[in-house]
Every structure is written in C-alpha cells, then in structure tokens.
Symmetry: C2
DNA sequence: TCAAAAACAGACAGACTTGTCTATTTTTAA
DNA sequence: TTAAAAATAGACAAGTCTGTCTGTTTTTGA
C-alpha cells in the first residue's frame, strides 16, 4: 500500500472506532487489527495515540463541512438555509452510527490540562460559528454585531439539540431546536 | 468508621474524582487511596465500579436539586425564576471545579450498549425537564401542551449553554442562553 | 463482656494498555 | 535493476486496570 494511503487508512479506521466506542475504550491494538497494518507501521505515521486523536478530530471536522456545505446549498439563501442547518442535524441523527458530537465526547475523555486536544476542538467549533455567521449574513441586511449575536444563538441551539438528542436517544431536542430557530429568525 | 459513613465517604470521593478526571481515567485504587479505606471495604459496599458510577450519578443529581431549588426560591415565581435558572448555571460555571455536565461526560465514556447507566442518566434529565415544567407552570396561565413545549425549549437552551461553556471554557454560551430565554418568555 | 460484623493491608490473578524494538520481507522509484 | 524506503509479524517492557482472596485487627451493640 502506498505511504499516504496507509496514513489515510489509519485515520479512517481510528476515526470510526474512536467515534463508535470512545477514545479511551479504543486500543492501539484494535486499530491496527481493523486497519490490517502492523504496529510499527502505525507508529511510523503517528508518534502517539494522542496524535491520532488530533488527526481524528480534524478528519471528522473536514468530513462534516464537506457534507454540510453541499447540503445547505440546496436551500435558498437566507432563512430557509438557516433552518436547513437543523434539517442537516436531523439527518445526521437519523443516519447510521450516530453517537453525538465527537468534540464533546472527546473533551469528556481527556484530562482537563490537555491543551493540545482542547485547542483543536475549540478551533473546529469556532469554524462552525464563523460558518453560521456567513449563513446569517446571507439573510436580510444586518449590522456585524447583530450577525454575531444571532449566529451564536443558533450555534447554542444547534449544539443543545445535538447533544440532547444523543443523550435521550430521541430526535425531539433537534426538533425543538428547529422550531426555536424558526421563531428566532422570523 | 460507621458502616453508612464509609459508604458515603466512598460516594463522595468517587464523585469528586469521576467528575474531575472522568470515569475511565479514575481507578479503583485511586478512590480507595483518597478515601482512606481498604479495597475489600469498597467491594463490600459496591459490587463493581459500574455500581459506584450509578451511585455517583444519583448523588450528583441529588446535590444538584438540593442547590438549585433554594437558589430559585429566592426569585419571584414566574418569568424571573425561569431566568434564575440561567443565573444558577452561570454560578455553577464560575464555581470551583466546574467540568461540564456529568451526565454528558459519563455518556461519552461508557459503551453504547450500557443500558443500565444510560437509564439512570436519562431519568435524571427527565426529572430536570419535569422541574422546569413546574417552573413554567408557575408563570402566567397556559395549557398543558404549551407548558411542555416551552419547558423543553428552555431545557435545550440550558443544556446547550452548559456544554458549550464547558467546551469553550468561557461563559458566553450561558449568557447567550440567558438572553434567548428572556426573548422566549417575554 | 463477648460474639458478630466490619474494616484493615496488601498480595495476587489475569487481562489489558501504550510504545519500542528486532529482524525480515515487500514495495517503490529512479 | 537495484538501493532505499516502507511495511511486516510479533516479542517485549513496564505499566495500568478491576476484582478476589487471605488473614488480622478493630469496632459495634446487646
């Protein structure tokens, strides 16, 4: 297998396992077994499990935006697209292998003083907030401050719906967030 | 030490460690060392680590309501008391040892098929929703369905603010949830 | 006072963890 | 074609984990 392909296989396999089973309950031995590679190969691509964790978080964020953006482009700019955010969430929930937000899950699993992983997670979420700001800006004319405030409100709704649908194993929190979003923007 | 006192010491120590460090990163050996008891003593009170986890979740929920209820009784019934919910959250965030929501943290740490722990968590959160319904009902006259819908909306806001303030290590999501609550009830 | 209950220290089993290392084979690319 | 790079299997170190067990000492309560 080509060098870069092996790396990709490791990230894909580790991501699936980390997301499904959790970071601490997934061992290196399980990753190499499922990926079908040798342990020395894994450690020639990543110097530690923590490095794989960071690659996992970045990979999930990348996939997330690669799916979200085309999904929302099917909606007309403005209010409908903002509501589309919660349709995306509902589809995400309904899809196979849903296990909540990988960022919140991982934050819960690492020591509080692990700044390296925390920063990757916070960066990913900041990117999402920024993207929501862009969606809000596409709606009717607003000043910069109003845009920022509304984006943060929608973000908190989005995350609340996501984590609570996971906890209750029921889509009602996402639906609640959706209807609250509607109330906010109309 | 008296029998029931030992049990309480175990729960208190385990709760502190589970909440601070996470469930999987806290070992039985650490619990007995910090609690100052023998391992055989711990296992005479709890048959497994999972049983301690359940006692931990119930203990935290109990403490939570024991603090929340008197806190809110200082507010006038109705809208102000509903907003007080988010003041409580802000105080919880600002307090020492804040580490997010123990329910979401624990859900992230256990295997997906662990129904026993999941049910304890879902039960605790359902109790919170029910309590919010009571707070909502204290406000102006509403039919039962409207009460339920509004309570769920406030709950999603509450949880979103809580988990995101934890993630970003900043109180802005709680403040955002607070202002959204205000908008909702006035 | 005295028997029962509880707590004690700590060894131990058995399985797991991450990460290193050796020695061999395969693949790649010029 | 051939030398360098990469992947291989798997042993190993050194530590972790949960849970059991033995044998002793302390506490409790009637």
């Amino acid at each position: 297998m080509k060098h870069s392909l092996v790396r990709h296989t490791i990230i894909e396999t580790a991501s699936r396992l980390f997301y499904e089973k959790g970071y601490n309950l997934t061992g290196i031995n399980e990753i190499i077994k499922e990926a079908g590679i040798a342990k020395a190969t894994l450690y020639s691509h990543f110097k530690s499990k923590e490095d794989i964790c960071i690659a996992y978080l970045q990979y999930k964020d990348q996939l997330f935006f690669e799916e979200l953006k085309p999904f929302l482009e099917a909606y007309p700019k403005g209010k409908e697209r903002l509501l589309g955010l919660f349709d995306f969430l509902a589809a995400f929930y309904a899809g196979a292998n849903f296990n909540g937000c990988w960022c919140l899950n991982t934050i819960s699993e690492i020591p509080q003083d692990n700044k390296r992983i925390r920063e990757v997670i916070q960066h990913g979420k900041s990117t999402l907030i920024q993207y929501i700001e862009e969606l809000v800006a596409e709606d009717t004319q607003k000043d910069q401050e109003t845009i920022k405030v509304l984006a943060r409100q929608l973000y908190v709704l989005y995350e609340g719906g996501l984590s609570e649908s996971h906890l209750h194993q029921d889509p009602w929190p996402i639906q609640t967030a959706h209807s609250l979003c509607k109330k906010l923007i109309t």
